[in-house]
């Protein structure tokens, strides 16, 4: 298994996977944090006994991840309830809270929430009062950097539950070129039956695409693209006008390019149904595709040069050049050897 194509095929079309490099498939899926999703996709299919048992364990793990994620959301809700401020769940926790297809087998790391920028201080104080602690020294360079330039507070970690929370006020760093309309994200959020808040369907896609293509270096890209596939299928099936809404919304947030590329990549890798008009040809798509698949059957990262190129791109996207230089200079000249 030279790249993750087998993993992508198994997710896209589980019936097509019979005799294959099972150990390679499992290792690649674990490395891409897709083992839970794969385990549910393959449920009930004929696979070797050992693989069936690995998948069963992965499904149980996913159930635990779901419980933990929803519990963190609930504890944050309890901590913030007295403020009366909207706190919107993002990413994996939101998928689980809303019971979306994308949550099936989905692992969740940190709790991500979005709050109005004006409420950041009050939210942070309430969380600290409820047992979350700062990981970075208040007023230090990193802390200051976060507060000035990032789209989120420096991460907080809970004292006894050891879980992190990222408090966002928008969905991209302030230094990135697109300027998403944070007020609209909040205004159009949806209240679930359980009282929790999530983004509107179109905004969920916009956020997922921004996270995948306009922010990081595509690490974990296959998982994020799988989210997008599941979300697009579910939302488009429920609303015939969804693609129009999405198009308008992506434009409003300045993220049309990222959303279109995400849809093309999802269509390409996961066969996501996408309208004809969205399937334009783009010369860079093959590079994105190759980067997404850069994982071999031993779970190792492959295509080092390509990975590095995307890593450089991620910094470029986040910061104007002069600022990047200053940032790297300060990081490099700190009075200690690197860790």
């Amino acid at each position: 298994m030279r790249n993750a194509a087998l993993l992508v095929r198994a997710l896209r079309d589980p019936a097509s996977v019979r005799d294959c490099d099972w150990s390679g498939l499992v290792s690649a899926a674990r490395a891409e944090q897709l083992i839970g999703s794969l385990a549910f996709r393959m449920e009930g299919r004929a696979v070797p006994a050992r693989v069936a048992s690995i998948f069963e364990g992965a499904r149980r793990d996913a159930a635990h991840a779901r419980t933990q994620a929803l519990w963190e959301a609930e504890m944050a809700r309890r901590a913030l309830a007295p403020l009366g401020v909207p706190a919107i769940l993002l990413k994996g926790t939101a998928f689980h809270a809303a019971g979306l297809e994308a949550s099936v087998g989905r692992s969740v790391g940190d709790l991500d929430i979005l709050v109005p920028k004006a409420s950041l201080d009050a939210v942070e104080a309430a969380l600290v009062g409820a047992g979350w602690e700062r990981m970075k020294e208040k007023g230090g360079y990193d802390d200051d950097y976060y507060r000035r330039w990032m789209h989120e507070l420096p991460p907080l970690i809970h004292r006894t539950r050891d879980r992190m929370i990222d408090v966002h006020h928008t969905i991209l760093p302030m230094t990135a070129r697109p300027k998403p309309d944070a007020a609209a994200l909040i205004a159009d959020s949806v209240t679930l039956d359980n009282g929790l808040l999530v983004l509107s369907p179109a905004d969920m896609i916009v956020h997922a695409a921004a996270h995948l293509l306009a922010d990081g270096d595509l690490a974990g890209g296959l998982r994020n693209l799988w989210d997008i596939d599941r979300l697009l299928r579910q939302f488009a099936a429920a609303d015939p006008d969804f693609w129009l809404t999405l198009s308008a919304r992506a434009g409003q947030h300045g993220l049309a390019r990222a959303v279109h590329r995400a849809a093309r990549l999802a269509n390409d890798l996961y066969d996501t149904p996408v309208p004809e008009a969205w399937r334009t040809w783009n010369g860079l798509d093959p590079l994105f595709r190759a980067r997404m698949l850069a994982r071999n059957g031993w779970g190792q990262e492959s295509r080092k040069a390509l990975r590095f190129a995307f890593y450089v791109r991620s910094h470029w996207l986040r910061m104007p050049p002069l600022m990047l230089a200053r940032h790297l200079w300060i990081k490099a000249t700190r009075p200690r050897a690197s860790a």
Binding site: W22, S23, V26, S27, R30, A31, P48, A49, R50, V51, S53, I54, E56, G57, A58, R60, D61, A63, H64, T67, W298, G299, Q300
Partner: protein
Amino acid sequence: MRHRLSLQIGPVAFRIGSAWKAPLDALARLYASYPAPADGLADFTVRLEPEKPWRRFFRPSVAIQGDYILPDAAPLSLAHGLLAAEMGMNLQMALGQKRYLLLHAATVEKDGRALIMTGESGAGKSTLAALLGERGWRLMGDEFALLDMDNGKLLPFPRAISLKNGAIRVMEAQVPAARFGPRLTGTPKGEIRHLIPNAHAIERMQEAAIPALILFPRFGEAAAVRGVGAAEVFMRLTQASTNYVALGRRGFDALTRLVSTLPALAIDYPDTDTALGLVEDFRQELAA
């Protein structure tokens, strides 16, 4: 990966890939009498890789990688590559095993009844398990006890026993040299030498046993035995388990059942003969 090896230990199969040949040769010698996984598949993958690309040849440095990794794990020298492979397998179990409730404990069995020994650093549970394994007990494992949550039985996981420092000489006096791995000196844990379990333990490595007694041994004190309350046993075992919390309700049910049905004793012992004598007494009491 350039070099590879598959191992079946108890119910678990590993696939180990390495950038170097030597660590896998050493591993293959240690596990020569174990069967290969019948299905050719792996539950877990371990990788031994250069810490940086150039560290394959220049001052080789072995990073422990695999399906599950510990971000703070430090690399080992190539001379300790065998230890890196063993640590890599332990790590997969500690972080990735979800089929069984995993306890950091040594287990031995006689007449179908298993003894679980767990305790703090230097308590000597590995040494006791190794000695009991040479005296009519079946060694089920010196590192991890696997509790089947469906039926409450223990599964064997008889890896090579990792003997440290003084324990090496104790066992060298009792076991033929052919059953030892290479002597690894200057490792982060001191001197280490692996002991291959006897044929009996390896042949029966698919055979479960019913847990009968939990022991918390402590070396270096005057001989003493005291009962340990079930709630304390519960707390201690949750802290000796890597996956208790992740198993949720199933883990809770299995562990409460275990601690409320099994007697538990803390034993202090000044020397291993005393401990072995006590264990033999307990066995006869339980059998009576």
